[in-house]
Amino acid sequence: MIFAKIEAYEEIIKKLDKKEDKIAIISCNTCARTCGNGGLNKLNELGLRLIRDGYYVTDEVVILYACSEPILREAKLDLDANTIIVLSCSAGWACFTRNFADKKVVKVTDDIGLVLTDTDKEIFKVVMPYKNHESEMGKEYRINTGEPLVGEKIKVRCV
């Protein structure tokens, strides 16, 4: 799985134009949901906040994988928006950038690393960090919320 952290709300709105942008929010329901940055909850949270602050949000979509063109094709998204916010890792952002070339696709997450998970303990652990996130190696987080955990719950042999 891929762990990406969502930027602060203040950083996200810097990339948006309140007057011009009609916004669709797409939320990945796999890795991003597991890591607390996607799924229905995060989508609702961001959508409500943007609407409250006067942004024009037209569509909200929860999609199984944001990184798969066959899934995207099956979804037959009919978006009224000219701007897309993708709550997923950068692979999901790349997929929407290619497939919605006429729209502004806003990247609001930063890839932290590849993770292994333990869904019984509800923990995920960074085992292959991305550039500038090497210090995240071995760190553990709570599934669904992305809340950092103290101590090592999953003993990985070869890290």
């Binding site: 799924g39 199984l64 063109e69 066959p70 899934i71 094709r73 979804a75 692979a91 790349a94």
Partner: protein, 401 residues
Amino acid sequence: MIISVRSLSYDELKRNLNHDDKIVIWSCDTCVKHCGIAGMEKMIALEDLLKEDGYTVLKKELVSESCQVNLAKKHKAANEDIFNEATAIILLTCEIGYQCVTTVFPRMKVIATAKTFGSGNFSNKKGPILTSPLPTTGLALDPEGYTLNKLVEEFNLYPKFFDADKVPNPIKITITVDGKPLEVKKDAILLDELEANRIKIPHLCYVSSLGSIGACRMCLVKIEGKRGLIPSCCTQIEEGMNVTTEDEELNTIRKSVLQMIISECGEDIQQSRDIRYWMRRYKITENRFKLPKKDEFIDDSNAVLIKDPNRCILCGRCVRACANLSGQKVIDFANRGSTTVTVTGLNEPFGNTDCAHCLACAHYCPTNAITPKAISKKISGYPFWTQISYPKTMTRSTYTG
């Protein structure tokens, strides 16, 4: 998805093995399968290669998601005897899968066969592409992506699965099918070989990676010298078999089974691709047995999946996928006979169970009774959530035969 490429040649793999090793081949069924280097077919090909070279392969272990430590532990617990006997595990997984398996089997010789490059997409035109490379690759983020061929060239890796052209020819025997001789693999499943030779046999419950249970009774054939009609999904090929795959009696029986399925599930049935195909083939145009339409509760409590019992035909694919591929055993049958249903957990909402969200059940369901949750909402106009993308289907059970 995580992008991985095969990094080990077959000769290098053999150098890591001793001739007296007892081998388990372990494969992931998700990202790495889409990269073309894992899955049940690849495990069978590797097993054939190893066996021809005199190695002992104890088991092929297909895991729905190898990056989940808890699933690896459950696979180990379910096959403890075999893993106690085994001395080596060959992995067809990404490097995360390698870390999981070495964690669960700390004293076992574990041989990784793939290098992981980062995350990427599955593109309709290019197949798997790497868009977000790990720092070790020295490549930059690129929404257009790097194809697997480019990675293979740049990093001097292997483009195909273990020397695909060197996979040995299995022992072939000749059987007779509908009066014509046919060369097939010895000891293979009859249905697999018929399909491999482009002889279409209807079936709903059988998938080679999940094994056979003979529940749907759609794949019945006649075999000379054997009593009654035989489900081809449960029949091993034998020398000199004389098989009839189509005649009036078989077609009538298949048509009746299909009509019973359609009757229980109403008009929605025509939206299931598999069933629609067979309806056309057997010229079924109307609902023959008028039964009251099922009106069971649609369970959307799971974060990722929706379970619609109205579309379930009790083929058992989800039950087998959850037990065999995931190891979680969250889905099972309850009750008997005509009251048989599939239930989650202890007959509780899907969301209350310890589902690992590996999607194996949804992947193998032939009628979309379990589908991934994909919902959309227009803020103006129709401000409520609607399920998108997945064709509606339904059917009904032939579990009891």
